[in-house]
Amino acid sequence: MSRNSDLRDATYVGLRTDGTRILRPKSPHLQVYDMLQITSGMSIGSRITGCAWTVGLLLMVWWLAAAASGPAAFANVQWFMSSFLGMLVLFGLSAAAWFHTLAGLRHLAWDFGYGCDMPAVHRTGRIVLIATAVMTVLTWLVAIIAWA
């Protein structure tokens, strides 16, 4: 183990049974939790989709800036958005956006004290997954109808 670069790391130092030092994980790390479990899977999924959406905001800025600057710039955005890669990115973003929104709704319910028991946690987890699929399909139905 290398030397500590952060004072706070001192509280995370543990000892193995053979006496060697080990750094305990600080926060939900991918290698510690079973990602197929709906509880930890939804938790890290919420974070990852939040980060993905943050990066996806770049597309919104590009779209608005292009619409403000002129037809040539706007044609570039439209070319990308209607390309295979663009569609793939947009589809992923719409699914991420719905997942993060619905998982956020679940978190807000927890903040108000609802649905904190284990059966409810499992049930609402599955509902969020199904609702994400439904809303994503609905979004693309609207897009396809608008396109046609």
């Binding site: 980060c51 943050t54 905001l57 800025v61 109808i145 396109w147």
Partner: protein, 131 residues
């Protein structure tokens, strides 16, 4: 537990009056994450379906849609709240997973700067079309 905190106060009288912990910020960060998330619920619903229904629209049609006062105002609100929510959300991720004060603070400040610039860019674009 509450009995013990009265008998053996760990907080200064000034701290008790201000009702804030040693971090001075209390729950502001946590609270703002919730407030912005509630505000973003209807805005996101509106934005995602609006963006989907604009698929394939021409440059002129898109500009006309953005220029409508109702859409322009909601777009500005969506931009401001999204980048605020994103900045404090990514801050928590950085705080959780980075080691070292320089990386932590540098990362947080860089993300905040980026969010400010992008939000201003998007906001200016909407205003240029709408005003």
């Amino acid at each position: 537990m509450s009995d013990n905190s009265i008998k053996f106060p760990m907080r200064t009288p000034l701290g008790r009056v201000r009702n804030l912990g040693s971090a001075k910020g209390g729950t502001h960060h946590w609270w703002m994450q919730r407030v912005t998330s509630i505000a973003l619920l209807p805005l996101t619903l509106w934005f995602v379906f609006s963006a989907a229904s604009l698929a394939g629209h021409s440059f002129e049609a898109t500009q006309a849609w953005i220029a409508r006062p109702f859409n322009a105002v909601l777009l500005l609100a969506t931009i401001g709240l999204s980048f605020y929510h994103a900045a404090i959300g990514v801050q928590v991720v950085i705080e959780d997973y980075t080691r070292g004060e320089l990386a932590r603070q540098g990362g947080i400040l860089a993300v905040k700067a980026l969010c400010w610039i992008l939000a201003l860019m998007a906001g200016l674009a909407v205003l240029r079309i709408a005003v």
